[in-house]
């Protein structure tokens, strides 16, 4: 039994020590916005924030979590979908199938959290998640648009 702080709520979870955080979030906690794509830290579909850092949850074991770690999933990014990244994504119709977009949004939100006005090179370096539908051009535009929203706010 472990206690996890997910989206500000403490949850008791029952999982073997070697279970990746991704599967605890999806199967034990029941939050399915965090996706499985590769399981080997390659695609980023499983991206969540741990203490404000973006992490690929398929490759974080539940046994590595420390008490007090704060986990935020896509469901907890904002109460009403109003995070600047979510608003920019909506304005530009970024998603195609949408499957990778939870991870993309979490990666973009983490980037802006650290670097509110990222350059194209910063975006290249930070946005390494795979989108098989190929929405990269709009993701880049979306990060810039969200940065503008942050600046004006």
């Amino acid at each position: 039994m472990a206690k996890l702080n997910i989206n500000g709520k403490i949850r008791d979870v029952q999982a073997e020590a070697g279970t990746p955080l991704l599967w605890v979030i999806r199967e034990q906690v029941g939050l399915t916005g965090t996706k499985y794509g590769c399981g080997v830290a390659q695609c980023g579909a499983c991206s969540v924030h741990i203490n404000g850092e973006v992490r690929r949850s398929c490759s974080v074991l539940i046994s590595d979590m420390k008490p007090g770690d704060r986990i935020v999933t896509i469901e907890g990014l904002s109460a009403t979908g109003s995070h600047p990244v979510q608003r920019a994504w909506a304005a530009l119709d970024v998603p195609q199938c949408g499957y990778c977009q939870s991870g993309q949004i979490m990666a973009a939100a983490a980037l802006l959290g650290k670097n509110p006005q990222p350059s194209d090179a910063d975006i290249d370096a930070a946005m390494t998640n795979i989108c098989r539908c190929g929405t990269y051009q709009r993701i880049r535009a979306g990060v810039h648009m969200a940065a503008e929203m942050v600046k004006k706010a």
């Binding site: 916005g33 979510q86 909506a90 195609q96 499957y99 795979i130």
Partner: protein
């Protein structure tokens, strides 16, 4: 003839999940029919006709029969229906239809399959008629209510007005009366001239974005049903191999494990309370396979077989104009080249998955499918039940690209497993490794091309010989007539209209030699236009250079008889600034090709460093798809096709060793990432005189345009893919 009023079946999935959550146990959603009291109809909305349901608040729910996998078809189809319906676009909702109900209602929604870029062009006519018929019935209902001739009424945004008497009413108030009227004869309906479109043809926002931004969207892989078990599966890594045995006792006591079960002849699954536990136990399960003779196959043996096909005499010629072989042999100048392209997996980011519940007399599946009716057939056949005993809940796909069409291997497996747990829902999820190991790959092929030129550089003759694996031989042998499979020559066909060869060459021979392997193959976004586009357009570049001519001019001279091919080529060249100066070190390449009834062309700008490092700076793509239903979503598809195409060009290959696939995850099967994305500019040049596809057409020009730009940069043609294996310096 009067019709009975029917209550709409809004989101049966939600109904099942919520009624189950309310403590009702699992509600098998069978035959929740389109019947109900007038009261229910008022609450849920009224089916005016098969395509349109109107709610009391005038929200119009458009029924969507095709699958949505990101390509935007759902929004485009809704635009087409709404355009004719004259409803308020802000009050448009959509719902999927069920294949079992389609069957029960004599296929009122037509073909539900979504492939070959047919989602819109294949259904635009009848869905527009559906929207128009509903509008006519709603107006007729108003006319009858007010006892005025229908010709005196006008309609806009779902509000019907009788100007003379200053009366107006809404669709929501008329729906029940309209549903009871006799529908007009579809053939008598006059559709709008696309020039008058207000909703279709416009860059409307997608209708399905909101819950993709907050984690709320439920994909098939996310489905939860009460009492559900999860399954992980492993098929024999060698295609065609068989399961001999497995030692269930070794994993039976692992956490959460229920059972290990045989899945038909060639696979085994572990079923547990969670998928992670099922997968962990599957990895620990001792399995004995009979790999069979295919274990001796490798990329090298396959390449040998294809190479032999390049000169073998069992090929057939689909095009034979003049005497190309003789003319080339006697030409003063000859060009010859052999090209090759590998097997490729689809690598949808959502894994193959399906949830099934099987009882003695019912089978129900929840699945991500491009072919809902194919899923129904597969589920019922696997369950040993008649079609009427099955139903498919279609969830939007986390990517399709041709992988989740008619074969429905994963749906079959889910049913085969769930059959062994009667009445219990079982969700099967494939691991990424299983997906890379058991795809229906883009077929492998090689191509030998030769051309003859006269002294002035005029093209006298061309000979194209494709040798490679046939998709039809694997999936649809009935389509091969007298051993001739023209499908593998897609894009090189002489017939106009779909995927026509765009040049006039006085002596031309185009042939295919079928060389099949043990590796399963299938359609992959763009299908055979991918390989054939590379072969033809990169070779054209070689010939143009041998002729000492500009790549664009050389093509133009051969295209006078193909004005639509030429039109997009010119559009791409113009927007791409063909012939204009470029920054130092940057080079251009150009290509055109046709597929899915649409015409595509591309200009690429690349640079290659002294160390051979490639950078793709910019790509301009021109597309003539006839009618452009949603220009912004067309641009999105073009952008996506660049990414899908470049992933293949740069990195994509599935190789074979000891009969099995080698690249099992993204570290060995890399895909394009954001940092490598060129700037993409889309030029849509719709001539509005035909209906072409959108999702697939442009991919076939992406790779040849880039390879031709590399040729311009390095002076050397690239003849084999992917580029990761090619030294550019």
């Amino acid at each position: 003839m009067k019709k009975t009023t029917r209550a709409t079946n809004l989101s049966r999935r939600k109904f099942i999940v919520s009624s189950a959550a309310a403590g009702g146990g699992l509600a098998l959603g069978f035959k929740l029919p389109f019947v109900g009291s007038a009261q229910a109809a008022t609450a849920a909305g009224t089916e005016v006709n098969a395509w349109v349901v109107v709610r009391p608040d005038s929200t119009c729910v458009v029924r969507i029969a095709r699958s949505e996998m990101g390509q935007g078809t759902l929004t485009g189809l809704a635009q087409l229906v709404a355009e004719e319906l004259e409803c308020d676009w802000k009050k448009v909702a959509t719902e999927h239809v069920f294949p079992g109900q389609n069957l029960a209602r004599k296929r009122v929604w037509g073909d539900m399959a979504t492939g070959g870029s047919r989602g819109i062009r294949g259904s635009q006519d009848y869905v527009r008629r559906g929207g128009a018929a509903a509008r006519m019935m709603l107006m007729q209902a108003a006319a009858e209510q007010w006892k005025v001739p229908v010709g005196e009424l006008t309609v806009a945004d779902g509000v019907i007005t009788h100007a003379a008497s200053k009366r107006s009413t809404s669709y929501g108030r008329l729906a029940i009366a309209a549903a009871n009227l006799t529908p007009p004869d579809p053939k008598s309906i006059k559709l709008k001239d696309p020039k008058d479109w207000k909703i279709a043809g416009k860059p409307m926002k997608r209708l399905d974005t909101a819950d993709k931004l907050n984690g709320g969207k439920v994909y098939a892989i996310d489905l939860k049903l009460p009492g559900m078990l999860s399954a992980a599966v492993k098929a024999c890594p060698v295609h065609g191999g068989k399961l001999v045995s497995f030692d269930e006792a070794k994993v039976a006591k692992m956490p959460g494990v229920r059972r290990a079960v045989k899945v038909n002849d060639g696979a085994v699954a572990v079923v547990a309370d969670t998928w992670w536990r099922a997968k962990t136990a599957l990895e620990a399960l001792p399995i004995v396979w009979d790999e069979g003779a295919n274990a001796a196959q490798s990329s090298a043996t396959i390449a040998e077989r294809l190479k032999e096909g390049l000169t073998a005499d069992d090929a057939f010629a689909d095009t034979k104009i003049g005497d190309a072989l003789k003319v080339i042999a006697g030409a003063p100048k000859k060009v010859e080249a052999v090209y090759s392209t590998p097997f490729l997996s689809h690598a949808t980011i959502e894994r193959m998955n399906c949830t099934a519940v099987v009882t003695a007399d019912k089978v129900e599946v929840w699945t991500a499918t491009q072919s809902a009716e194919g899923s129904l057939a597969a589920a019922c056949e696997e369950a040993g039940l008649p079609l009427a005993a099955g139903e498919v809940h279609k969830l939007d796909l986390g990517g399709g690209f041709g992988r989740r069409g008619g074969t429905q291997d994963y749906t079959r497996q889910a049913v085969a497993i769930a059959k062994q747990f009667p009445g219990v829902p079982v969700k099967l999820i494939w691991s990424r490794e299983e997906d890379q190991a058991h795809d229906f790959y883009r077929p492998i092929s090689q191509c030998k091309l030769s051309a003859g030129l006269d002294e002035s550089g005029k093209l006298l003759g061309m000979h194209i010989r494709v040798s490679g694996q046939s998709i039809n031989a694997w999936l649809n042998p009935g389509a091969i007539k007298e051993g001739k499979d023209v499908r593998q020559l897609q894009g090189l066909w002489k017939e106009p209209g779909d995927a026509q060869f765009g040049y006039t060459v006085p002596n031309l021979q185009i042939e295919y030699a079928m060389r099949n392997t043990h590796v399963p193959v299938g359609p992959w976004r763009g299908v055979n236009t991918n390989q054939n586009g590379v072969y033809l357009e990169c070779f054209m570049e070689e010939v143009a250079r041998a002729a000492g001519k500009d790549s664009l001019e050389f093509r133009r001279e051969l295209m006078a008889n193909h004005p639509k091919h030429l039109g997009v080529l010119n559009a791409a060249a113009e927007k791409g600034g063909w012939g204009k100066p470029l920054p130092a070190g940057v080079h251009r390449g150009i290509a055109q090709f046709m597929g899915y009834a649409s015409y595509s062309a591309a200009v690429a700008e690349v640079s290659v460093s002294a160390e051979g490092k490639l950078k793709i700076h910019r790509m301009v793509l021109a597309l003539n798809c006839g009618h452009a239903v949603n220009p912004d979503q067309i641009a999105a598809q073009v952008e996506g096709s660049v990414v899908y195409g470049l992933s293949a060009a740069l990195y994509g290959e599935c190789t074979v060793q000891n009969g099995r696939m080698v690249e099992l995850n993204f570290h060995t099967y890399p895909l394009l990432r954001l940092a490598e994305m060129p700037k993409v500019e889309t030029v849509i040049v719709p001539t509005q005189d035909f209906w072409g596809g959108v999702g697939e057409p442009t991919i076939c020009v992406v790779t040849p345009a880039v390879l031709n730009a590399i040729f311009a940069a390095t002076g050397k043609p690239v003849r084999s893919l992917p580029l990761k294996n090619v030294k550019l310096a």
